[in-house]
């Protein structure tokens, strides 16, 4: 053997006969369950009755329009989009405060995190909804916004926030969700900032950077790269947790699905369909974050 001998071939990742056997077993088990359920339940599958609630033909114009379930999905996407932005902002600020020298800022952020993390989400949402939103929003005049003002009654507003008449309701749910998720993001951000070595702070200070520039140019860019995976997980959790908001009558996917399931009595079809909708939405976000991660990693090493 000489140095020039090619290295042994790396084992290829291929499915072996054993793997296929395993797949078959799992498929057989699932098939058995479905067969048993069918035999016992004698359930009459009527997908078309539920699918009508995804899209319908408008009687007047004769065109396809979004029906309840698709409208609900849109509201959930709106909640996810604005919720992610709002939670990221709150989480970034609070996470930074957690690492500050100022004792007051640390007490405030720590209290916020502990308060929210140690109350069940459901209870937090009820407290927020009944005691804060129902008191604070009227005081701020957010309860009855002028739906005919040009600020509100335009295509962009409808696209971004949905029906103006439901805006205060949407806003309650949004703030609630963002506040709740931001507590977890706060902890992720804190861990990210603390993972940056002391030498990076010192080097930044030594070349005379202000605290703001130090955070913007040195600390946050490195911290964000490190926390991207847990952050992505938290944003996907946010989408899934948005279902809880249905309890305060925000007309998102789960809320409307409950109504569809009740009125059609087609419980299985409704929830399987809604589950599939959530899956597609969350998997899409997971995919986007995975791409982001690859891009962020590219500039770092190599």
């Amino acid at each position: 053997m000489t140095r020039r001998t090619p290295p042994p071939a790396a084992p290829r990742r291929r499915l072996t006969a054993v793997d296929w056997m395993l797949f078959l077993l799992v498929a057989a088990a699932l098939g058995y369950v479905v067969w048993r359920v069918n035999a016992v339940l004698v359930y009459n599958w009527e997908w078309h009755r539920v699918l009508r609630f995804v899209v319908r033909i408008d009687a007047e114009t004769g065109q396809w329009v979004a029906n309840l379930l698709l409208q609900g999905l849109f509201t959930t996407i709106r909640l996810a989009f604005w919720g992610t932005i709002l939670a990221a902002i709150i989480g970034l600020i609070m996470g930074y405060w957690r690492t500050c020298d100022s004792l007051a800022l640390r007490i405030i952020s720590r209290t916020y995190v502990e308060l929210i993390r140690n109350i069940p989400p459901l209870i937090f949402i009820f407290i927020f909804y009944f005691f804060i939103a129902s008191q604070a929003f009227p005081a701020l005049g957010l309860n009855n916004i002028n739906t005919s003002s040009p600020w509100v009654d335009n295509a962009f507003f409808r696209f971004a926030f949905g029906d103006p008449r439901l805006f205060s309701n949407f806003l309650t749910g949004l703030i609630c969700l963002a506040l709740f998720e931001a507590a977890y993001i706060t902890e992720i951000v804190r861990a990210g900032i603390q993972s940056i070595k002391k030498g990076q702070w010192e080097a930044g200070r030594a070349i005379g950077l202000s605290r703001f520039n130090l955070l913007r140019d040195i600390i946050f860019p490195q911290a964000v790269r490190k926390i991207l995976p847990p952050l992505a997980g938290q944003f996907i959790t946010l989408i899934k947790d948005s279902a809880i908001i249905s309890l305060i009558s925000v007309q998102e996917l789960t809320f409307l699905a409950t109504e569809v399931a009740a009125s059609t009595t087609k419980v299985f079809e409704t929830w399987i369909l809604v589950g599939a909708m959530y899956f597609v939405l969350c998997y899409f976000f997971a995919f986007v974050f995975a791409r982001l991660e690859i891009r962020a990693g590219r500039s770092h090493h190599r």
Binding site: K197, G199, Q200, E202, A203, G204, R205, A206, I207, G208, L209, S210, N213, D217, I218, P221, Q222, R225, S299, H300, H301, R302
Partner: protein, 250 residues
């Protein structure tokens, strides 16, 4: 010129620092003239690093006074950034910014602190990268470079602020032996250009060739100040003699 140019660049008097109850620095008195090169040595934990880190306030002193270029430096002061732009620092572990290219590492300080335009800062940075003989690596990221190369970039980054004094905190201690010479060469050429330098190091060859004075510290105090020749051949104190014998033993 104004009267400040007659004053020493760094004036330290009665400086004290404690970590909780531990006295890290005690009654330090030391001046460094313009263009002077001072080497600080001493056993680990003797306060060498703490002392030079007080000069740009990476550590805050609790007693005594400190002037840099005639301006008083106080703990927690506003506008410490204006002092720091005149005080370059090189760390033992380089501390380059790993998410930026070598060139961007150099450009950041002048752009943010001195309000220089990016184009002008790039020109300046390339000049210093050539000076430390690493210009061809400008577009790379720090983790792609060897330790010696990284330390030379770190020196260039500090120089890019066009400081009046350079502080070196054990710049060669984290380097592989074959990388040390390149870094010391750069430091020596900097010394020849007339830069004021305070260097914490155990490189005795460097100290002999470059230093105007050697300051020996132990247990947070300055024990002995001498020319390199005197210090290395005939140390006046027992503690210095003992330290030197340990240094030579290995």
């Amino acid at each position: 010129m104004t009267e400040t140019s007659d004053r020493p660049l760094v004036e330290i008097s009665g400086l004290c620092k404690w970590y909780n109850d531990f006295s890290a620095l005690y009654d330090i008195n030391m001046n460094v003239a313009r263009g002077e090169k001072v080497v600080i040595c001493g056993p680990s934990g003797s306060g060498k690093s703490t002392l030079i880190r007080c000069i740009n306030q990476l550590e805050e002193h609790q007693k005594g006074t400190l002037f840099v270029d005639g301006k008083e430096v106080r703990p927690g002061m506003k506008g410490i950034e204006q002092i720091r732009r005149d005080v370059g620092m090189v760390f033992q572990s380089f501390n380059l910014f790993p998410h930026m290219t070598v060139l961007d590492n150099l450009v950041l300080g002048p752009v943010r602190n001195r309000g220089m335009s990016r184009t002008k800062a790039r020109e300046l940075a390339m000049g210093y990268l050539e000076k430390v003989r690493i210009a061809e690596q400008a577009a790379k990221y720090p983790p792609q470079l060897s330790g010696g190369q990284q330390q030379r970039v770190a020196i260039a980054r500090a120089l890019c602020m066009q400081p009046k004094i350079m502080l070196f905190d054990e710049p060669t201690s984290a380097l592989d032996p074959e990388m040390i010479a390149g870094v010391l060469d750069v430091m020596e050429s900097l010394a020849r250009d007339g830069m004021t330098m305070i260097v914490v190091t155990h490189e005795m060859g460097f100290a002999r060739r470059v230093a105007d004075r050697v300051v020996f510290m132990d247990e947070g105090e300055i024990v002995e100040v001498a020319t390199p020749e005197e210090f290395f051949t005939t140390p006046k104190t027992d503690r210095a003699a003992q330290f030197l014998s340990q240094l030579l033993a290995h």
